[in-house]
Subunit: 115 residues, 2 copies
Amino acid sequence: MLERQNDLPRLELDYSKLFDSTGRGVIVAIAKDAQLGKELMVGYMDPQAFEYSLKTALAVFWSRSRKEYWLKGSGSGSWLDIKSWKKDCDGDVLLMEVSPNGPVCHEEGKYTCFD
Amino acid sequence: MLERQNDLPRLELDYSKLFDSTGRGVIVAIAKDAQLGKELMVGYMDPQAFEYSLKTALAVFWSRSRKEYWLKGSGSGSWLDIKSWKKDCDGDVLLMEVSPNGPVCHEEGKYTCFD
């Protein structure tokens, strides 16, 4: 289900050091609207969620509370197409520029979780 | 040292639910340049760090690795003046719009940790 082979953007990143410094194997992933520049939501990724995201160019998170992988939008249709991403200096935060396929927040169909 | 009484911006926020949903008492705090709209860094706050930040309108983080409070800029002079902030729908992420008093990243005096 998580395979996607069509028209993937080339997600460039120096993957070395990502996860290295966290000590827990989970990083913070910020999704920001690539066009509007607004922050949309924050999730978490372990190496497997990162791998899924890399493979599909869709944001896949690790739910710390439910202990499961979570393809954002799999229920709502509001996928986050990842256009580009970069890590921070410590390699424990990923900043993604995304194109959302619908309202991102589960609350009342809000555009962003920061409202 | 952390008191600051002069010309504080009024930091408005509905504090209820902040920290409630984390279960660990630590939230992610994103600092974003209020003028340029660029993400600068990500740190963590527990309720005490949040209280310090509220009191001083300067970003104070909780260092998870060093287990201590950390007034950003106390070494480098690159304070982060908090101009406004908002929380996300879950109350476990704080998005701060800040005015940095210098280069934010410890690496080679870089403007942002996302470079």
